[in-house]
């Protein structure tokens, strides 16, 4: 279990583990369940809203039968549309909510959306299953008391590597950021925010409020390291690793866990300095046409059995303590999905620090790439 320290930040790539971890579908079958005994807290029958719901989600980021079961339980038809990244979600909503009832932004974008007044406060009296969440996820620094977002999954950035090509586990960010040991075999995630915050973490600072005086040092470090880096990847670090183009990548745990199923020689770890933890949350955007259905749906997703089916499909870490109890050993003991507690203790949420900082960070990385 993660000791999710309060703090925050964003931006994953949810190519589901579905395909790759399809093998574990066998486990999912064992857990398939009818809804008869399920969750007395799910209200059946109709409210005064139209029996529909627009769910805007990441690709393959929900259980196979989850939506059908929700319809069975409540009569509400869920129409799911997909976004590829938080920028797309934000761009869609900034021009006015086109009719979504529930969205799944990453924590940094929960902050952005809240500051832009694009999401609305939740009515916790309609979400009794909230109590199922592990205590450390019931309140976080980016959303105290979870007024705006209900945690759905969490994820961490770390090092994905090819075991046969490294001299022991690459247990420190140094091998990626400041060393020629793996020259030409490193790929870094090309997200300005993440690169800068992780460099600060490596240098012993917090990922939050990175001091301005540190930025030139970070810039110089990356410019020096460029000759050892093969490529800055976008969302496909796990593919580069799997294809053998590089042997070490900066990536999300879920994405590496996915390719680990295809290739035994791959592994994932969180370096000893710690890393950035992120969390995707369920939110209701401003102007949602069916807010009551939205609350019912969020509550439904927090049900232990429903959550277990989701986790079995998508294989991302769950913040739901009751779900975890239902999950098989192969999930709970997977160190790619759940890095060891001592490492998780050093993880922090990043923070959205305003437009000016985003712009400054982006320009820093533009300079690194142009150097």
């Amino acid at each position: 279990m993660p000791e999710a320290k309060p703090s925050h930040r964003s931006r994953p790539h949810r190519r589901s583990l579905l395909a790759a971890l399809g093998a574990s579908g066998a486990a999912a079958v064992g857990l398939s369940f009818g809804l008869e005994g399920c969750a007395p807290s799910i209200r059946r029958g109709s409210n005064d809203e139209e029996a529909k719901l627009n769910f805007y989600n990441w690709d393959t980021y929900v259980g196979k039968d989850t939506l059908a079961e929700f319809k069975q339980a409540t009569g509400v038809d869920v129409n799911m549309s997909l976004f590829a990244n938080n920028d797309e979600l934000f761009a869609k909503l900034r021009a006015g909510n086109p009719g979504f009832d529930v969205i799944v932004p990453t924590n940094e974008f929960v902050t952005r959306l809240r500051l832009a007044d694009l999401i609305q406060p939740l009515d916790h009296s309609k979400i009794p299953n909230f109590k199922n969440l592990a205590p450390e996820f019931q309140s976080t620094i980016f959303d105290p008391g979870r007024r705006y977002s209900i945690p759905y999954t969490w994820l961490v950035l770390g090092v994905g590597y090819r075991k046969s090509k490294v001299d022991g586990p690459p247990d420190t960010w140094k091998w990626l950021f400041e060393s020629d040991r793996y020259k030409g075999r490193i790929s870094l995630f090309s997200e300005a925010d993440d690169l800068i915050k992780l460099a600060a973490k490596y240098m012993g600072y917090s990922v939050r409020d990175v001091p301005d005086s540190l930025l030139p040092k970070i810039e110089a470090m990356y410019i020096r390291q460029k000759r050892n880096i093969r490529v800055f990847h976008e969302d496909n670090g796990q593919d580069l690793l799997l294809a053998g183009d590089v042997d070490l990548v900066l990536e999300y745990n879920g994405d590496i866990a996915q390719v680990m199923q295809e290739d035994d020689d791959l592994a994932f770890l969180v370096p000893k300095e710690g890393t950035i933890i992120q969390s995707d949350g369920l939110c209701i955007p401003r102007g949602a046409p069916r807010p009551d259905n939205a609350h019912r749906f969020i509550n439904f997703l927090l049900d232990p059995k429903v959550g277990a089916e989701i986790s079995n499909t998508i294989m991302y870490p769950t913040p739901n303590a009751e779900v975890l109890k239902l999950m098989p050993e192969s999930y709970r003991n997977n160190t790619a999905i759940f890095p060891p507690a001592d490492r998780m203790a050093k993880c922090e949420y990043g923070d959205f620090e305003g437009v000016e900082r985003s712009r400054m960070f982006d320009e820093l990385i533009t300079r690194v790439k142009a150097a």
Binding site: A192, D245, D362, E363, T366, A370
Partner: protein, 304 residues
């Protein structure tokens, strides 16, 4: 022909206007209006997270003229220019060959040139990655040859070869240029072909009869006559290459950032639309300048 069309629209302006109204409306609503909005953004600034105030500021342009962005623009231009030159060198003989092919094979050759358009650029780029990557098809083939060679040398007791080192073909500037040439080549070949196909063959025969060799005929007769085709081929290759975004992103290495990649980040992660708009329009102004220059040179040539 031109006279005739002009006459007919003078005779029935109503019909002409009604036929033209739909495309004009389309052009205004879906091209010029959005462009005008983005152009407006380039003179604005962010207010909060979602609002852009257009206040006529030139700050975005001033920022875009910072040496950092100018150097990236220059580098993008360099990539585009090298791509264009290679396309011209490769495309010219191809177009010439199609021009002189048998009439029955011509449509097939043209089809071959256009075939890649039937597949999405993203898919073609991923295919190229599969060919170039460390354990891709080229390196796989070379590795196979190498191991055969090593085994035969070993069998003949001539010597031992070191293990095969895969070539670094992907994630560098070479891969970006290769990708750009691959994408842009048809755009060079088609205008060249259409210019050369219209050549008066008797001029070529005269040149050959008068003792000029084939090379000299091509350089001194064909090339000058095909100049309009060359100029438009250069334009349609150079301009899209300058704004290439996908190719450097997927095939490039740590030094392959082009201006379109920077612009994309302004609209996404940096969330600075006014600056992104200013960078896009800087590129647009340069393109307009290039087209104007081409038109100017063209009219001079025609004027004698």
């Amino acid at each position: 022909m031109a006279e005739h069309t002009q006459d007919s629209w003078r005779k029935s302006p109503g019909l002409f206007a009604s036929l033209l109204s739909a495309p004009t409306l389309f052009l205004f609503a879906f091209l010029l209006a959005p462009l005008a909005i983005v152009w407006g953004y380039s003179f604005g600034h962010n207010q909060g997270l979602t609002d852009i105030v257009v206040d006529g500021t030139f700050a975005n342009y001033a920022h875009a003229l910072n040496p950092l962005y100018l150097s990236i623009l220059f580098k993008s231009f360099l990539f585009a220019a090298v791509t264009t030159v290679i396309c011209l060198l490769v495309g010219f003989p191809v177009a010439l060959a199609i021009t002189f092919a048998r009439p029955s094979t011509k449509p097939w050759l043209l089809l071959l040139i256009m075939l890649p358009f039937w597949t999405n650029l993203l898919i073609r780029t991923y295919a190229l990655m599969a060919v170039l990557r460390t354990q891709g098809y080229i390196n796989g083939f070379l590795g196979l040859l190498w191991s055969l060679l090593a085994r035969s040398l070993d069998a003949l007791h001539i010597g031992r070869l070191a293990a095969f080192t895969p070539l670094d073909l992907l994630y560098n500037n070479f891969a970006v240029i290769l990708g750009l040439v691959y994408v842009q080549l048809p755009f060079m070949v088609l205008p060249l072909y259409s210019a050369m196909d219209r050549l008066d063959r008797s001029l070529l025969e005269a040149s050959l009869d008068l003792g000029a060799g084939h090379v000299r005929t091509i350089l001194q007769i064909v090339a000058p006559l095909a100049m309009p085709g060359i100029a438009s081929g250069v334009m349609v290759t150079l301009i899209p290459s300058l704004g290439a975004f996908l190719t450097p992103e997927l095939l490039g290495g740590v030094d392959s950032q082009m201006i379109a990649n920077v612009i994309e980040r302004q609209f996404k992660s940096a969330n600075d639309w006014p600056f992104g708009a200013a960078l896009s329009f800087l590129l647009m102004y340069m393109t307009f300048a290039a087209i104007a220059l081409q038109a100017l040179l063209g009219s001079k040539r025609r004027g004698g």
